[in-house]
């Protein structure tokens, strides 16, 4: 919009003071504007809470980068969990500690990301020589580097590396405010998303199925994700999430498949770097069920993908199908464990890791 001055009017004369829009009772304007804004935002806050959208930490890269920098400051032999949502929701850090797993592991797994850039980040972090628990969700772990959504984790890693004081203060403000105000949630509570869902306009013929997000999990200040309590008892919500996941899988077929040879080669190189410093990498395949597992069997057959990964890296690999005590879990939407199951799974996973470690086969 044209305001009252220009930078290019004169090369030698001083700038004019900007004009003001005449005599406006600004105090009255500001007070009324503030009151109207507070009332409306307050009403929206109340209505969100009434509809069950209670306040929670927003899912944004700053939270991940904050946690990554905590790892940098921690003991170099810490245990760190990386991967995507399955391990984020399914691994219970407190249970791991209760089982005797030492200091509380750091959680850096994050929904819908590829853990390879995380692995590479730790491989290039000379100070790290701890244990890396890598959750392998085949669709994400073996995705193409051109797949922008799982690979957005590269931006997370870059943010953590260039973490500045402003980022630090911003995250502290978020820790303070987000657990108190539902309006600060991102995703489906945003006004435009709400409008999109509310209008639900007819789609074009031949268009990809529309994403309809639904909040089915929450994430805590330690980056740990959890399915919302009682989610498994609400079939309608489960169906919404299943639709969402199926849409997601449909869009994934549009991306070129990852170059498996290159992926395995890069992972092996990263694993070797970590091992050379005395660190340890453990791959864990968390459960999936039903149509999701069927899809994975077709898209990333176990022998070609998982078995090859474990064989070529020489790392300890724990696949839920190989251990009766890790099988038989029911994932409500076929992809994630509920919170009580996450505790059970972690306890059994710890026992397997401890027993394999005693044998020293993979260290």
């Amino acid at each position: 919009m044209p305001l009252s001055t220009s930078s290019s009017e004169s090369r030698v004369t001083a700038i004019r003071t900007r004009d003001l829009p005449g005599e406006i009772p600004w105090t009255r304007v500001a007070v009324v504007a503030a009151i109207l804004a507070i009332i409306t935002i307050g009403w929206r806050e109340w209505s969100l809470r009434e509809s069950g959208s209670g306040p929670a930490l927003a899912l944004q890269p700053g939270l991940w980068a904050w946690q990554r920098n905590l790892v940098r400051k921690a003991e170099p032999d810490s245990t760190v969990v990386v991967g995507s949502s399955r391990i984020s929701f399914g691994f219970d850090q407190d249970e791991w500690v209760r089982c005797g797993g030492g200091p509380r592991p750091f959680m850096l797994a994050w929904p819908a990301i590829c853990p390879r850039p995380q692995l590479h980040d730790f491989a290039t972090d000379e100070s790290f020589h701890g244990t890396l628990l890598v959750g392998v969700t085949p669709g994400f772990f073996f995705c193409s580097s051109a797949n922008s959504i799982p690979m957005r984790v590269q931006q997370f890693v870059a943010l953590a590396r260039h973490w500045g004081p402003a980022d630090d203060i911003e995250q502290r403000c978020r820790f303070l405010l987000e657990p108190r105000f539902s309006i600060l949630l991102n995703g489906e509570t945003s006004l435009l998303t709400w409008l999109r869902y509310r209008l639900d306009l007819p789609q074009r013929a031949g268009q990809l199925p529309a994403f309809r997000d639904s909040r089915f999990f929450w994430i805590d200040e330690h980056c740990r994700g959890r399915l919302i309590e009682g989610f498994e008892k609400r079939p309608e919500e489960i169906q919404v999430v299943c639709n969402w996941l199926q849409t997601w899988l449909a869009t994934q077929t549009l991306y070129p498949p990852g170059n498996l040879d290159l992926i395995v080669q890069e992972v092996v190189a990263d694993v070797q770097k970590i091992r050379a410093r005395g660190g340890r990498v453990i791959f864990v395949r968390f459960p999936s069920t039903g149509w999701y597992r069927d899809d994975e069997r077709v898209q990333q057959p176990r022998v070609a993908y998982w078995d090859r990964l474990i064989r070529e890296t020489g790392c300890l690999g724990i696949h839920f199908e190989d251990y009766p005590e890790l099988s038989g879990f029911d994932c409500p939407e076929n992809s994630h464990l509920t919170q009580p199951d996450a505790i059970k799974f972690t306890r059994r996973l710890y026992a397997i890791v401890a027993s394999q470690s005693k044998r020293g086969k993979h260290d």
Binding site: P21, T27, I41
Partner: protein, 473 residues
């Protein structure tokens, strides 16, 4: 520190509060300088050193240059300043690009050279403050201005936080004189500044990020060829996004400065209401186009050395303007395309001297829409990640992809249409009006309702992305 962050809310509250205290003027200016360094260091503390180098070198060079009479020594001093400033800019912004280009060049001769990955971090705002300090040294060299007496005022000119990282690029005569007299923002200035800040944030947070960025990102990041309609929507969405993002930042900067009692120049004046490309560049990123005109185009000879030389000067200026935006050949091509537009426009002006720019709406409206369309087509080079992506996108625009993917929902088209049409309509209506006059004619309660609506939408309609596009330049 981003204007659209909680940290900035805290920061600006403290700065306005402390700066308005009735301490001696020198102390208040020193506080403002320290706050500006804190603002910059909050992103990456070590890079404040670059600001200090730039400040000290240009301060010393300009003073020495003023005292020296011999042209040769003056020229040497100018080269010192250019070497330091452009050297830092070149290393941090263009180092990797130059190595990669060299590698491609020698590859043509069959020589394999793999450049090292330097891992250089681009210091935020370096292109902006480099141009700002260069204008000072060049003005002193050309004896258009005297060197500044006060180091504090000069340092504050280089570092003034509202416009430090993404402009407007301010000339010495526009800002330094404002540091000479004690400044206390009046109540009107404070509220008007906050009002402008709110509009700027609305443009950035709601229109650029929440409404338009998802549309352009979805289509531009598509792994498969996209449908023509999706490509058009994404291109128009990005045209709106880049305007709201950058104009929003500039307005925030103007508003923040105003709330402290300082005046910054306009950087945008309804650019999409421009009828013609020279008109566009007098409305888009005004402080950069003015800088390029005064320190590049005119020294090259401007339009005083014949038609062919004028055209060459235009092309050269725009090529360098393109390179200023980013270290990639697609930015150079973007600049070259705008240079070509300007040359073609000059040529058309000679053929149709009366019609362009026409005085009637019947001529102006189609010319304005054609200008918008031509400018939007060049934004594809800005947004695409690579040249081949841009070529693919142009192919999508003409609908020549087989079995394209339909990404966008009906709601996306509706949203994009409403926002872009609204943007064009408002800019057309505001084309020859001043915002201050429009606000002055509104009843106070209407301003209050408008302001509250902006605040509500900023809080309730936030988008996912947050960084300003122009920060990468």
């Amino acid at each position: 520190m981003l204007f659209n962050s909680l940290t900035f809310v805290l920061f600006i509250a403290i700065v306005i509060g402390v700066f308005s205290l009735r301490f001696p003027w020198r102390m208040r200016k020193t506080f403002l300088l320290l706050a500006s360094y804190a603002f910059y260091a909050a992103w990456n503390p070590p890079f404040v050193i670059l600001l200090w180098i730039s400040t000290v070198v240009d301060w010393l060079v300009a003073r020495r240059m003023h005292r020296v009479q011999q042209p040769g020594r003056r020229r040497f001093l100018l080269w010192v300043s250019l070497a330091v400033n452009l050297g830092m800019l070149g290393f941090f912004k263009y180092g990797q690009f130059l190595l990669a280009s060299f590698s491609e060049l020698v590859a043509m001769a069959g020589i394999v050279y793999v450049p090292p990955e330097l891992g250089i971090i681009l210091p935020i705002g370096i292109s902006f403050y480099t141009f700002q300090t260069l204008s000072y040294t060049i003005d002193v060299y050309l004896r258009r201005a005297d060197p500044e007496e006060s180091f504090l005022d000069f340092a504050l000119f280089v570092t003034f936080f509202p416009q430090l990282v993404a402009g407007p690029i301010v000339r010495p005569h526009q800002l330094i004189p404002q540091f000479k007299q004690p400044v206390v923002a009046t109540r009107n200035q404070l509220f008007w500044g906050l009002f402008l800040l709110t509009i700027g944030l609305f443009e950035k947070v709601v229109l650029a990020d929440a409404a338009l960025s998802a549309i352009s990102n979805t289509v531009f990041n598509s792994p498969q060829p996209v449908a023509s309609l999706d490509a058009w929507a994404a291109m128009l969405a990005f045209s709106g996004q880049i305007f709201f993002d950058f104009a929003g930042y500039s307005l925030c900067a103007i508003g923040v400065a105003m709330s402290l009692g300082f005046s910054l120049p306009d950087n945008f004046r309804c650019p999409y209401a421009a009828s013609g490309f020279s008109d566009f560049w007098s409305r888009w990123h005004i402080s950069l186009s003015g800088w390029l005109r005064d320190y590049l185009y005119i020294p090259l000879g401007g339009n005083r050395q014949g038609r062919a030389r004028t055209q060459l000067n235009l092309i050269l200026t725009m090529l360098l303007g393109g390179l200023w935006h980013g270290a990639a050949w697609r930015f150079v091509v973007w600049g070259g395309t705008h240079g070509a537009y300007l040359v073609i426009e000059r040529w058309l002006r000679q053929i149709f001297p009366r019609e362009i720019p026409g005085t009637s709406a019947a001529v102006k409206i189609p010319v304005t829409l054609a200008t918008f369309l031509a400018v939007s087509l060049t934004w594809v080079l800005f947004r695409a990640e690579t040249f081949s992506d841009a070529v693919d996108f142009y192919i999508a625009l003409v609908g020549m992809h087989q079995q394209p993917v339909l990404w966008l929902e009906t709601f996306d088209f509706l949203l994009c249409g409403v926002v872009v049409a609204g943007m064009l309509s408002v800019q057309w209506w505001m084309r020859d009006r001043r915002f201050e006059d429009v606000v002055a004619r509104c009843p106070w309660w209407a301003i209050a309702v408008f302001w509250s609506a902006l605040l509500i939408l900023i809080v309730l309609a936030r988008g996912e992305s947050s960084a300003f596009i122009y920060f990468q330049f």
